[in-house]
Symmetry: C2
Subunit: 262 residues, 2 copies
């Protein structure tokens, strides 16, 4: 059984789809006017096609629309919560009807799951790249936390902490929790390394990991992108408070090990 506490997030790049999601689907509706031809092309595209470039273009159109569904869903989940968000409202936002959503996603549960997995994959990629790169363990941890916090202020990232994994189905929960466990292992190794290097003081890596990233998971509850502090000031400040604490150095220096070389 994987850990329940998660500290896995994923940044979502600003999509080129435009903020007015309805445009996407209004266009689609017009294109669908000649159903047979349009339909034919799509069919070829979604299966392996021996023909030239046109099918690929159509396939990407499906992907673009699917992405628009995920994006709008993430924003709605953030606003209303998972249970509070209805597929009818999501459909309204997208200027389509509810059954159309089911053309792009298999269920509401899966919709959330797809969002979560996408974010998790992105953060995992960043974590692996960062760990493999240069710097002390502390510097790497800081970079990961900052990136993680950035995710947590996006609609996609919010979905990670918005809904307990228990609320997704059994199969999907495992998919999510496997990635959480993978991320945790990376972070545990990083904390161990920091301890060996002397760049960190870690009494317990599990508690430290959950303590630090738990605070980042909670960020979406209070940090607004348009708040008093802009995200690029708020995030490093928040991360550094977590890394350094608020206790004055003198208050704890005596009983702290300076460094231990391996």
């Amino acid at each position: 059984m994987a850990h329940r506490g998660n500290h896995t997030g994923l940044h979502v790049e600003i999509r080129s789809i435009s903020n007015d999601r309805s445009v996407q689907f209004r266009a689609a509706r017009v294109e669908a006017m000649p159903p047979c031809l349009y339909g034919k092309a799509m069919s070829i595209a979604t299966t392996e096609s021996p023909w030239g470039s046109t099918p690929r273009k159509h396939r990407s159109k499906f992907q673009l629309k699917r992405d628009a569904v995920l994006e709008a869903a993430a924003a709605l989940f953030r606003q209303r919560g998972y249970e509070g968000a209805s597929l009818n409202e999501l459909a309204d936002i997208l200027n389509i009807t509810k059954p159309t959503i089911y053309y792009y996603v298999e269920s509401k549960d899966r919709l959330l799951l797809d969002i979560k997995i996408q974010v998790q994959e992105q953060i995992l990629t960043f974590m692996k790249a960062t760990v493999a790169g240069p710097g002390t363990a502390l510097e790497k941890l800081r970079a990961i936390m900052i990136r993680y916090a950035e995710f947590m202020m996006s609609d996609y990232g919010t979905c990670l902490s918005l809904i307990a994994n228990r609320e997704i189905g059994e199969k999907g929960r495992i998919e999510v929790e496997t990635r959480i466990e993978e991320a945790n292992q990376i972070l545990y190794r990083l904390l161990d390394q920091g301890k060996r290097e002397g760049s960190m003081v870690v009494p317990d890596r599990v508690v430290a990991c959950h303590g630090l990233f738990g605070s980042l998971n909670w960020m979406s509850q209070w940090a607004k992108p348009d708040g008093r502090l802009p995200p690029d000031k708020l995030i490093p400040m928040h991360v550094d408070i977590l890394l350094s604490g608020v206790a004055a150095p003198t208050a704890r220096a005596p009983d702290k090990p300076k460094r231990r070389r391996s």
Copy 2:
């Protein structure tokens, strides 16, 4: 408009009602056999009664049962989430029917709200007493965080962070957020005092406050009372990691102000 992020929790003392909540209501059911009389007595009890000691006994019985409803509801909310918990299931747990719940609470929203407010009041009381007592600001903050974390591992405390305040009604949300704001002001003053004393380093009191207590709010997502570390070991460890950070002292000492006397 009050802050959305909250760091307000409340400890719930172990109630004497016993863990087998059904006992409470099985007894009640027998008493209810003559519905009119029982109902009448209850009715008298809940309003101001000019009579002797009997009504008081009834009143306390009503309160005990009401408390049992809140307690079972808190546990169920923790297990299923607010939306995921149905009042029928709650009734089954208590060996009563759904309408009976409405005898003790006015609505599902209000049920959650009553739990939240009760916890908030308890933590606020503790915070005020601690602030008024002896010790440095850092010591006081630590005591508050530990007590707060204890709450966060209880069923009642979990309800504070389980559901966004948006999901309660407008009127109730204000009741909750007013207390959050009150708690925040106490914490801000404590952080300011720590800064003046030199016992703390606080670049921004709002970020520090949310950062520290956000991590405690998240605790209920991963810390289990029966986990690897018992709560009395886990909680101080977690709090100290937040207060002192994980960065080795040498890594940040240079640019840190030692103390500033007022």
